[in-house]
Amino acid sequence: MLDVADAEACFHCGEPVPPDGTLSVDIAGRSRRVCCRGCQAVAEAIRGYGLENFYRYRDGVTPKPDATDTGPDPALYDDPSIQEEFVERLPDGSCQAEFILENLVCPACCWLVEAQLGKLDGVTEATVNYTSHHAHVRWLPDRIPLSRILGSVATLGYRAWPYHPDQDARRLERERRGHLRRLALAGLLGMQVMMFAFALYGSGWATAEAHYREFFRWISLFLTLPVLAYSGAPFFRRAWRDLRLLRPGMDVPVALGMGIAFLASCRATVTGTGEIYFDSVVMFIFLLSLGRYLEFMAGKKSSERVASLTRILPAVATRLVGGGREWREESVPVARLQQGDTVLVRPGETVPADGCISDGVSSVDESILTGESLPVKKSRGERVIGGSRNIDSPLQMQVEHVRQATLLARIHALLEQGRAERPAFVVLANRIAGRFVLVVLLAAAATAWYWHTVAPGRWIPVTAALLIVTCPCALSLAMPAAFASSLAALMRHGVAVVRPDTLERLAGATHFVFDKTGTLTRGTLQLAGVTVTGAAGRAHCLAVAAALESRSEHPLARALLAAAGPDRAQAAAIHNHPGEGISGMVDGHRYFLGSEAFIRRAAGVAPVPELLQAAGSKTLAVLADDSGVLAVFRFGDEIRPGAADLMQRLHGAGRQTLILSGDSSGLVTHLTRELGMDAGWARQTPQDKLRRIRALQEQGARVVMVGDGVNDAPVLAAADVSIAMGSGTDLSRASADIILLGNSLHSLAALLEQSRRTRTVIRENLVWAGIYNLLALPAAAAGLVLPWMAALGMSLSSLLVVLNSARLAR
């Protein structure tokens, strides 16, 4: 039952073995075929270390070790100046450090690395966390150098990068443990209290005999006390803070309700008369803690997404010193790179800083930043972004921005700043919740007074239930929980949302304005068509034109050269007329290439007018010789893939699409027509754009501005939502609400879809929370809600909001 593909699969990596492949490795007493030397080496290393069991337990196959992908030389990490960045020296002489492991695909990989490290002499502790892909290693530096530890990981086909945990990550981890502890205590003791409560609810022996009842009540009291004091402490603390600031938040009624219920129960226990509500109190604290824990985890995930941006930069770079032919390589910590340094990035390495390629051609994987999975080809003169990965061949680059000035760090700072700004919706939600709390407190006072006069025995449970059941937790969670989940999902698509509340406004926008044609086109001219008018063929005309332009850097020249291909004629006596055209001798003939006016003047011939008209809006170049016009070349800016699709989507959703561009009218009308956009205005100054946007807004439009985000800051600020898209380092100067790192219209489409979903979820949350609170308040005031129902209802309503929002993270 074995098909051919399976039989031919490499034992290690699962890729097909080449037909002429003869490599094999002996594992568990049998010879197995492998596809390449890399896999063979890794498999033999695994066998050599006695870890063949790995193959028994792994899930699926192991990634192919990349022969070129050696990473930085592990010996670098023995340098004390590099080690001081991430290695912690312990008082007993050993060292410890955290590493990020790449290529971990299944838990068996963790075991493999752990087992391998554990066998090394001098390593005292090695644990690998599969969830976070972190390895924690402790070793004795006088017994084993760090480079050997890393080297032995590398022989298994994994790569280890030093990891610097930042303050934020440590704080989050500490908080997470605190949440878990509070949850555990409330759950554990809560179960005991519930058990006694059930015995007391019934009418069996426990309630019949007074001394059992007494005993159960006292035990419940003592079990509730630690829950209230430890798990409930954060609620009381925040309530106290709110009261001191005279700004009642939602913790005030919660704490008050819990406090009243607890104190009343204590009194009942001491005096032996009245009801006890310990079970409601512990259940409430448990469910509330659960809700807060889930909310915290969603927020943690989204902030870790942001934080992970800064951790991509490597710790070590290879700097080239010297000049001319005498380059010398030296390893330096990335923290010490300077602007202007020349750096060598080997295949498989991560680009350490933003810069410009000074030598070499290679494809670069920018997926971490842009979400774009395909590598991008980069050559001399092009920019590379720190954090992207070099794939096939070595690159030399000139460092332009380091550390805090890199695009990565700037985007991180922008996002952090956006998070620190307390978005408008949070302010609004808090204000509404604050007012609502005031209403609740007043209602509680009135209810307490009413029941005290009507049925003195019942005022305590009714008031406590009212305070608890009407807590506006769900209401105030409705938006932040949805945004937190959405941001994490968008980050995966290469969309950085600086101001989260704009997501909701984006979904309600009516007009999409593109402020540059460059956002819809590729931005490079390409030969769109050739019309041959003379006796010479198309290929000949192209060859001649390319020969004339072979040394020119003009955009039209590049487009011609790209279209002509590698074989071209030789031109001599080239004479350049800047801004007009070029003339020169090819094969003994004089040719002219340039604008229509230039041809008319220099060659003395006039192109046929119909030819020019046929070209429409496109840019033209005319090739002529002394006898007449030979060909007309038309150039166009290619429309980006996805643009037409995006417009269709926008129109389908009833949105207006406009172009407000500073470019010439030809390009704008061409684009407007080609993409079926609603309107296009060319030659707009920033003031014009601002005026038009204001005019649209006065008519009730909600305007989204899509541009490169660099210029026109007032225009962007005037729009309801501004989206910056563009590639590379330009984005670091962007001032926009949302940044598309991918420079692709697909991520814009994903963003729109996500914003729509976010709005739906927010609405569901708000409607649900609103209805819940509106129903709960009168019901509780009428005395229909018992304290345990209140605890359950309130907690479930917020849990529902958190879980509903979590759907957005997918």
Binding site: N129, L189, Y212
Partner: protein, 58 residues
């Protein structure tokens, strides 16, 4: 029914023990990775004779 006092006493002692164990578990990071350890228990560090399962149908 006086046995109930003894039983409840025992259950409270157990709760305290469980609580202590749980707090220790959180502190020592038992809840940080919920994936890898379940495989670790299966993998015997010195058993290298077993054949991998992929092999059974060849």
């Amino acid at each position: 029914m006086n046995i109930i006092f003894l039983l409840i006493g025992i259950s409270l002692v157990l709760v305290v023990i469980i609580g202590i164990v749980f707090f220790w578990a959180i502190k020592s990071g038992q809840y940080e990775d919920l994936e890898a350890p379940r495989y670790q228990i299966l993998m015997d560090d010195d058993d290298t004779t077993a054949a991998p399962p992929e092999d059974d149908n060849q």
